[in-house]
Every structure is written in structure tokens, then in C-alpha cells.
């Protein structure tokens, strides 16, 4: 980085900002999972860790000046795009190359079928693959968060606390008195009762 101009330095920082942010989020989340005493705080840390990973993936697929990954839908209406697609298909029927039949992103193509020769490669689209991987991860993430929260509720029902050290104390006490069965029994019986 010797002798970079201010602009170049800023661009370098900008280019790495997503990795730094995702690293910081990963570390915050992991630190919370290890050192926080409260189980719900640990789960929030787990979610932050998860978003750090998602941020890494999604930002890997980002491109400067790219369109969102939805083909042949510029900033104008459905209708004109459908027309564009039809025009492109007619062009293909007329014997032109199949690649040209891919619907153009430029909206002017709706009016000028002759213009409908833009290939897909000319418009830059964001890489859709990381989006697919992460989209499912978010929904699975909330399902696993729900499962983890259910376990937290179960821990609270069994030991009367969601602080890690208190739970550990309760476990140690019950083992020392060898009354672990009675503790569990009481709460299990108590739960449907209450």
C-alpha cells in the first residue's frame, strides 16, 4: 500500500469493508456465544454469527453497477417487457441466433424489435448463486432459533434459571444430593399442571 493516493486508499478500504464487517460480526457473535452468561444472549450471538456468514456470501456475489438478478425486467412495465420478449422470440423465429432471443434489458427494445439483439452478457447481473444458498439458510436459521429457544424454555422449567452459572450450580447441587431424579420429576409433573 505504499504511495497510494487518498482515493485509491479509500477504494481499497471500501473493497475490504464487507470482509472486515463480516469478520467483526463473526467475532462478536462467537464471543457472545462463549462468554455471555445468559442463554438468550448466547442465541442472539448465534444469530449475529449467522448473519456474519451470510454477509460474507452475499457480498461475494455483489458486483458494481449490476442489475438485480431478474432477467428482462428493467425499470419499465411488465407489458413492454413482454412485448420485448415476444419481439425477441419473433426475431429468433426469423432465423437469428438463439442467444439474441434472450430478452434484452433495455426498455427501448419494446418499441424497436430491431434493437432486440442485446445478449444477456451485456447487462451485468448480480451473481444469483450465493443468494440461493443464503435465502434457505435464513429460513432454516429461524427454525433452528425456534428449536433453541424451546430448549431454553425447557432448561428454565427444569432449573429455574437461564443463566449459565446458575444452571450449572443447580446441576451440581442436584448431583451432590443425588436428587437429580426428584428435581426433574417435580418440574415435569409441574409443567402440565400449572
Amino acid at each position: 500500500m505504499e504511495l497510494l493516493t487518498l482515493t485509491a486508499q479509500f477504494e481499497w478500504i471500501l473493497g475490504k469493508s464487507n470482509y472486515w464487517a463480516s469478520t467483526v460480526l463473526l467475532l462478536i457473535g462467537l464471543h457472545a456465544m462463549i462468554s455471555k452468561n445468559n442463554l438468550i444472549k448466547k442465541l442472539i450471538g448465534m444469530s449475529i454469527f449467522q448473519t456474519g456468514i451470510i454477509l460474507f456470501y452475499v457480498s461475494a456475489g455483489a458486483k458494481h453497477g449490476a442489475q438485480i438478478p431478474i432477467v428482462h425486467y428493467g425499470h419499465d412495465s411488465h407489458e413492454s417487457h413482454d412485448k420485448a420478449a415476444h419481439a425477441a422470440e419473433h426475431a429468433a423465429d426469423a432465423g437469428q441466433q438463439v442467444a439474441e432471443a434472450a430478452a434484452p434489458a433495455a426498455n427501448h427494445a419494446a418499441n424497436h424489435a430491431a434493437d432486440a439483439t442485446h445478449t444477456l452478457g451485456e447487462t451485468l447481473y448480480v451473481n444469483p448463486l450465493p443468494h440461493v444458498l443464503m435465502l434457505t439458510a435464513i429460513v432454516v436459521g429461524v427454525a433452528t432459533l425456534g428449536l433453541a429457544l424451546a430448549m431454553v424454555q425447557k432448561v428454565y422449567a427444569a432449573y429455574g434459571s437461564i443463566e449459565e452459572d446458575e444452571v450449572l450450580d443447580a446441576i451440581a447441587d442436584s448431583t451432590a444430593d443425588s436428587t437429580v431424579d426428584s428435581t426433574v420429576d417435580r418440574t415435569v409433573k409441574g409443567t402440565p399442571e400449572a
Binding site: 425499470h75 419499465d76 412495465s77 411488465h78 407489458e79 413492454s80 412485448k83 419494446a110 418499441n111
Partner: protein
């Protein structure tokens, strides 16, 4: 024509921003929960609706340029107006819910904002009533 739409959209958005500045100032500076809620509930809804209206005007510009090919933007405009309508519905509801929640959580009012000469039970008396008594 284009200039007209730009000015209309721009002024709507600017008005929304002014109200949002008011909201933020109120939420940062007001002394107690109830007054902050007042700033947050009113200014937030109004500024949101104004900025969304500005966006809707900006979007609808394309339609007036080329009504035959661009009528699809009307759908987008209607959706933006729909967002504004639903925010007008849901945002006061959440304000109401939160106000009630804060009341039940026995938040105290700041003495600088309470009218001492009012009639009727004080806030603390109301809060000390049970659920059944209140409703």
C-alpha cells in the same frame, strides 16, 4: 413536465425529511416516555407517508411521458400508495399498543410536563388499578 414532477416529488420528500428531523429531535430530547411516544407516533407516520408520496409521484412520471407503454408503473405507484395506506393503519396501532404497554409497565411522567391543576385521578392512581377495574 418533467421538472414539475421532480419539484413535486422533491418537495414532498423534503417535507417528509423535515418531519422526520422533528421526530428524531423529539425522541432524543423529550424528557419522558409519553412525550417521546408523542413525537415518535405522529411525526414518524406523517414523514413516512410524505416520503412515500414523493416516491409515488416520482415513479408515476414515466407514465405521463409514455402512457401507452409505461402503464405498468401505475401498478408500482399503487403498491407504494398501498404501503402508505397500510403504514397509516399499522403505525398508529403500534403507537397505541406501545402507549398502553408503557402505561401498564408503570412508567412515570416527568414533572416538567405534567399539568398539576388537572382534575381526575393521577397517572399513578390509574396505573395502580387492576385490569378488571380499568376495563
Amino acid at each position: 413536465m418533467s421538472l414539475f414532477f421532480d419539484i413535486l416529488a422533491g418537495s414532498l420528500m423534503a417535507a417528509g425529511l423535515i418531519f422526520f428531523v422533528g421526530t428524531v429531535t423529539g425522541m432524543l430530547r423529550f424528557p419522558d416516555f409519553y412525550t417521546r411516544m408523542h413525537a415518535g407516533g405522529k411525526g414518524d407516520t406523517l414523514s413516512t407517508i410524505l416520503i412515500l408520496l414523493g416516491a409515488a409521484v416520482h415513479v408515476s412520471e414515466d407514465f405521463f411521458h409514455d402512457p401507452i407503454h409505461q402503464w405498468g408503473v401505475l401498478l408500482v405507484m399503487v403498491k407504494i400508495l398501498g404501503i402508505a395506506a397500510f403504514l397509516m393503519l399499522t403505525s398508529p396501532t403500534s403507537t397505541h399498543a406501545l402507549m398502553r404497554a408503557g402505561f401498564e409497565d408503570a412508567h412515570e411522567t416527568d414533572e416538567t410536563v405534567v399539568d398539576k391543576d388537572q382534575d381526575g385521578p393521577s397517572l399513578e392512581e390509574l396505573q395502580s388499578r387492576t385490569w378488571e377495574e380499568r376495563s
